[in-house]
Symmetry: C2
Amino acid sequence: MSGKQDTAAGTGAAAAAPETAAGADTWLDAITWDERGLVPAIAQEAFTNRVLMVAWMNRAALLETVRTGQAVYWSRSRQRLWRKGEESGHRQRLREVRVDCDADVILLKVDQVGGIACHTGRHNCFFRRLEDGRWVDIDPVLKPASEIYAK
Amino acid sequence: MSGKQDTAAGTGAAAAAPETAAGADTWLDAITWDERGLVPAIAQEAFTNRVLMVAWMNRAALLETVRTGQAVYWSRSRQRLWRKGEESGHRQRLREVRVDCDADVILLKVDQVGGIACHTGRHNCFFRRLEDGRWVDIDPVLKPASEIYAK
């Protein structure tokens, strides 16, 4: 997380990363995983910069994302790896991975397959805007969820 | 958070919001606050769509943000409201507030005063990119932190 106010824990943990450790996954040790071993991950559309969604990642999810080039998250409700698009086909092809100053938030720049990131069938999950004290749906459903998830 | 996998809790909580309640702050009840009463908030630069930072908000922070038109977060380390820019002057003027499908992530579209959101003096906090298994600083320091926070 960001800002001077919240840097103490993040900086400490990052500095404590084993810089002398060998192996290809040392970069994972630089992440400030929370008490559950998770960090929030933002998926941002690479060519528009629009924010698509936020989900969680554990170490295995981030490693698989980088190795496969497809976004993989950790589903807290199912307690298992969630390969984005595994049911819908709406995968996210990885373009770039960034981490913030406190190393506790991941930013993925991706190409969104099908142009639909949200399970509601919309381009992205942030389709509700606050207007005069009410949340208003402002983005269209591009494909009904019943079609996306039909068996 | 996003995706079909993680909707159960979010949808349930949103549906349980007191739709019949009177008062101007009913929209706050639609948010799925976590067990600490917090949600992550992304600040996105309105005119470039670049992601500036992620911080946390509680109910009071989000309410003050909307009422004042300036981003206010909850500092977990200091356990108090953090009026972004209160020390640095790098305030964030609110353009738009969005919430995601599960109502557990807030997206603020803002104008970043001074063009610097990060306490390191960079435009944004996501200045490290993963390159060949290493985190590499790729964005310049626009103003040294010692100048930003000089008393």
